[in-house]
C-alpha cells in the first residue's frame, strides 16, 4: 500500500504547465491563497479553468488533488471511509481529507454536478474556521495555511436546478473565465496544438463563428481545448477538413442540419 507521502507525490506538478495569463487572475488567486480564502472558478467548458489550477498549483508548489464531481458523489467519497482489508477495517482518507492533512490544493471540478447535501461538507472548510470534521474517526482536522480549496462550474449550460446554493456560493472569491481574446487564443493554439500561426488563426476564426450560434441551437461553441485537439491531429498528418470534423464539429452537436452548417463553415475557411 502506498504511503500518504507517495500518494501526495503523484499530485505534485513538477513541470511548468503552459498557461497564458489574460488578466489579474494570478494575482487574485495568489492573494486568496495567502489569506486562506477559497476560490470559485466560473466559465464555459474548455476555456482553461483546470489548466489555471494546475498552473497555480505549480506556482505554489503544492500538490493538486482534483475531484470530478458527479451526481452520485457522497460525503464519504470526499472525506473517507472504512474498508475491509484482510479481515480488518481500515480507514482510508478521501481526497478532501488527504488534502487537508497534507496542506494540498483540493479542486472540486464541476461542483454543481454533486448532490447539494454533499457540497455542504466543504462549508466549514471554506470559511474562516478552515476545519473538517471527520465524524467516523471522531476527529476535527484544522487545515494548515498551505491548504486551499477551489471549486469550478460552468454557468452556461447547467439548469437553474443545478445552481449553487447561496450559502455555498457566498464563501468564495470568484474568478470568471471566458474564452481568451482572439490573439491570445491563437497563441495558445499555436503553443499547445503545435501548429503554425496561420492555421491557428483560422481555427480561432472557426471557433468564433461557432460561438455565435447560441441562438441557432448550439448549446456551446467550440472551446479552446477542441481547437488544440484539432491542431494536434493535423500535426500527425490528418487533413485539416477531417481534423476539424472529428475534433471540433462532431463533438459540438448531433443535429444533422447544424452539423452541415458547421461543415460549410469549415469548407469556407480552409
Amino acid at each position: 500500500m502506498k504511503t500518504v507521502e507517495q500518494r501526495l507525490e503523484e499530485h505534485l506538478i513538477t513541470a511548468e504547465p503552459y498557461y497564458l495569463v489574460s488578466g489579474t487572475e494570478i494575482e487574485i488567486a495568489l492573494s486568496a491563497y495567502k489569506n486562506g480564502l477559497p476560490l470559485l472558478l466560473k466559465g464555459p467548458t474548455g476555456c482553461g479553468k483546470t489548466r489555471f489550477m494546475q498552473y497555480l498549483a505549480w506556482k505554489l508548489q503544492r500538490p493538486l488533488i482534483t475531484v470530478s464531481c458527479h451526481d452520485d458523489l457522497s460525503t464519504s467519497d470526499l472525506v473517507g471511509r472504512y474498508l475491509i482489508r484482510s479481515g480488518e477495517a481500515v480507514w482510508i482518507d478521501g481526497p478532501l481529507t488527504l488534502a487537508v492533512r497534507a496542506g494540498a490544493i483540493c479542486y472540486l471540478d464541476e461542483i454543481v454536478e454533486a448532490r447539494k447535501d454533499t457540497t455542504v461538507v466543504i462549508h466549514p472548510l471554506a470559511d474562516d474556521r478552515r476545519e473538517l470534521p471527520v465524524e467516523k474517526l471522531g476527529e476535527l482536522l484544522t487545515a494548515p495555511p498551505e491548504f486551499m480549496i477551489s471549486v469550478s462550474y460552468n454557468p452556461g449550460y447547467q439548469s437553474v436546478l443545478k445552481d449553487l446554493k447561496p450559502s455555498t456560493r457566498q464563501r468564495f472569491v470568484a474568478i470568471s473565465f471566458d474564452y481568451p481574446l482572439p490573439d491570445q487564443e491563437v497563441e495558445i493554439v499555436c503553443q499547445e496544438g503545435g501548429v503554425e500561426k496561420e492555421l491557428a488563426h483560422s481555427l480561432v476564426k472557426l471557433a468564433g463563428m461557432t460561438r455565435s450560434l447560441k441562438e441557432s441551437g448550439l448549446a456551446e461553441g467550440a472551446s479552446t481545448r477542441l481547437l488544440i485537439q484539432a491542431g494536434k491531429l493535423t500535426q500527425d498528418g490528418i487533413d485539416i477538413h477531417t481534423a476539424c470534423r472529428v475534433a471540433i464539429i462532431e463533438p459540438l452537436s448531433d443535429d444533422p442540419e447544424l452539423l452541415a452548417a458547421l461543415q460549410e463553415m469549415v469548407s469556407s475557411i480552409f
Binding site: 471511509r81 452541415a260 469556407s268
Partner: protein, 765 residues
Amino acid sequence: MKLAALSEQFYSLVSPDIPNEWDVEEVMEPFIETNDKVCEVILEHIPVIWPVSHSLCYDFLRQAPEALKHLSLEQLPHWVGVALDIYENDGLRTAQRFMQDGVENHLSRLKGSGGLALASVEKRLLPYIRGIARDELQIVPARETYTDTSTLYAPEEINLFHNNEQNFLLYKLIFTYQWGYIACGSFLARAPEGFPLFSNREDSLWLRAFLDSFTNPPLARDIYHLLESIRVKIFLHKELPGLMRAVSKLPFPLDLPLPMKNKANLFFASIQQGLTGDKTDLYTLLQPHLTPSECQRFLHGEATPQDSARLVPRLYSTLHNKDQDYIPFPPLPFQGRLKLRSVETARKVQKEKMGEQFVDLMAAHFLTLSQEKLKNILKDEERDSGGSGLAESDVSMIMDSEFAQTADQDKAAPLLVTINNEELEFPPELESFTRKFLDEFGQLPTRFITSAAGKAGEGMLRGDVGGQEEGEQQSTGTVVYDEWDYRRQGYRKNWCSLQLKELPQVHSPFIRNTLDKYHGLTLRLRHQFEMMRSQERFVKRQREGDDIDFDALVESLSDTQAGLPSSDRLFIRLKQDERDIAVLFLVDMSNSTSGWVNTALKESLVLMSEAMEVLGDRYGIYGFSGMRRSRCELFHVKHLTESYGERVKERISSIGPSEYTRMGPPIRHATRLLQEVDAKVRLIITLTDGKPEDYDDYKGDYAIEDTRHALLEAKVAGIHPFCITIDHQAHDYMEHMYGPANYIFVDNVRKLPLRMPEIYRTLTS
C-alpha cells in the same frame, strides 16, 4: 339546379360565416359543368383554406379548374398546402401569384427538375451564415439577390448549373457575398474629403444622395457596386479562402447579351470576368481604368468604401454616354443589386428596435437612482404630467457623432449624459449597449433618453400607487400557438392566441366545507400519500458504501474461516429513492361543467392538493376555456413552484364554468411549461367532461385531431399526458386522442373526488 346545390354546399362548409351570395355564385359557376367527383375533391379544400383566408379560398376556387388541367386530383392537396405555406409566410399577394402562375413551376419542382430550391437548403445555410456573420441575419426568398443589412435575399430557386452541388455552392456564395457587403461597410460609405455632404438627415444614407446626384444614377450605382464587389472578393479571399477556392471552379456562363459597342457594358463585362476569375486576372482587367496605386490598394484589401466612392465620378465621366441610354448591365448572380432604400428602411427598423431596448435599459437604470436624483431628472415630467416628458433641450450628451468616429481610440472614456444639470454615468451593461448603438448609427437621438425618463417616471408613479388594480381575471400575457389541420396535414401558423389570466380570489366557505365533508378521506389520503414519499433507506450487502455491514462482515469472516469463498459485499449504502415528479392539472372550465360537475372538479382539486402537499411532488393547476381561436384562455390557479396557501385555495374556489373547450392551446402551453422543468417524470393530467369543442370550426374530427396532435407534441417532449373524463361517450374518441392506456373514465361524477387521488397514486408509483 346545380348552381344552387353547389352554393348550398359552400355555405354549409363555411358556416357559421355567411359570405356574399354573388361572390359565392361567381366562384361556383364554373363548376356547373364539372363532374361530381372532381367537384367533391375541390370543395373538400374549402374548410381547409376558408378559415385561413377568405380571399385565398375564392382565388383557389377560381384557379382550381385551370390548375387541374396540369395537376392530378392527388396532387391538388400538396399544391394547396404549398399555397397556404406561402400565404402564411409572405401574405396574400404572393400566394395569389403562386396560384395564378405557379402551376407549371410547381410541377417542375415536384418532378425535381427545377434546380435547387432555397427552402431545401435554408436550414443548412441559415446557421452557416449566422455563424460567419456572428449576427442574427435572416434569409428570405425574393426575385432578386440583395441585402438590406438585416436580411439576405436570394432567388427562391437556382438552376444555373446542371449539378445541384454547384447550385448549392452558388447559394452559399450568394449569401456569403451579400454578408461581405455588410462586413465591408459598403452601404455606410461616408463622404470622402472634398465631396458634398448633402443634407444629412438622421436616417438617410450619404451614399444614396451621392449616387442619386449623377445625371444617370443607375450607372453611378452600378459602378460603385462593382468596385465594392471587388473589395468584397478580396476580403473573402482573405477571410474564407476555402470557399473562394471552391467557387473559382464554378463554370459561370458569361453570356454577353448586350451590344458590346457600349463602353459601359464593355467595362462591366470585363470586370465581372475578373470577379469570377483569380486575382491576377483582376489586376490586368483593372489596369486600364485605375492608376497602379489604386489597383494595389484594391487588390491588397486596403481600399475603403470611401475609395470606391471617390472613383465613381471619374469612371462615370469616361463611361457615361449622353447619346446612348444606359441599359443596366446584368450583375453576376452573387453580386445581386445595390438597394440602398431597403438598407435605409432596415436600418430605421433596427434603430427603433435597439432604441426600445435602450429605453428599457435606461429606464431601469433611472429607477435604481436615488429618489432625489430621480426627482431632479424627472422634474419637468411632474410639472406637466400630461406633457410628453422632458424637453430635448434639457438633455445633453457627451457622445456625438464625433465620439463614434473616435470610439476606437477612446474606448476608456466613460459615457456621460447630463439631464437637467444632473450628471449621470452609465452602468457597464448600458454603456456597452450604447457603444454598440453608436458604432452602428453614429449618434444616439436624445429622444430615446427623454422617453426613457418618461418611462421611468411612469414606473415611479406606478410604484407609488402599488398594485391597487385587482380587476377580475386580470390578464398577464398572451401566447400564440400553431394549430394542426389534419386535412392539410400541416399547421395553421400562429393560429390561436392563448391569453394567460389570473383567476380572481374568492373568499368562500367552499374549501372548509369540502374538508369537513371529506374529513375521513383526507386523513386516509394523507396517510397513503405519506407512504409514497421519497425515502432514504439503507441497502445492505453492497460492494461499496458509507459504512460497514457488520452482518455481512461476520458472515464473510466465518466463511473464510471455514475455507469457503467469502463475499465482498460488505458495505451498507444509503440510497435515496427520490420522487422527481412534476405534474400539471388542466381543468376544463367549459360551460358544460356547470353544476355538479364543477363542484366535483373543485372538490377533487382540493383533496388532490391536500394529498400532494404531503407527497411533495411539484404540481400546478390551470383552468382553461375561451371562445374562438383569438381568445383561448388559460387561468392560473397554482404555478408549479407556488405553495398551496390561502391564495391558491381562494382561486380554486373561484373556478367556475366559462365558455368552450379548445384543448390544443392549453395542452401546448402546459407542454411548454413542463419543458422548462427538470424532472424525471413529467405529467399533464387533463380533467374534462367532454369532447374538445369551440364556437368556430373547432369541432368534430378537426378538434379531436388537433388535440391528439398537441398530445403527440407533448409525448415527443417527454411528457406523459393523461386524461380523466366523465363523458359517457368518451370511449369513442379518447383512445384515439390519448392512446389506449392513457385515460380513465369515471362514471359517477360524485365519485371523482375519491377516485382522483387514487388514479394519481397508481399513475406515479
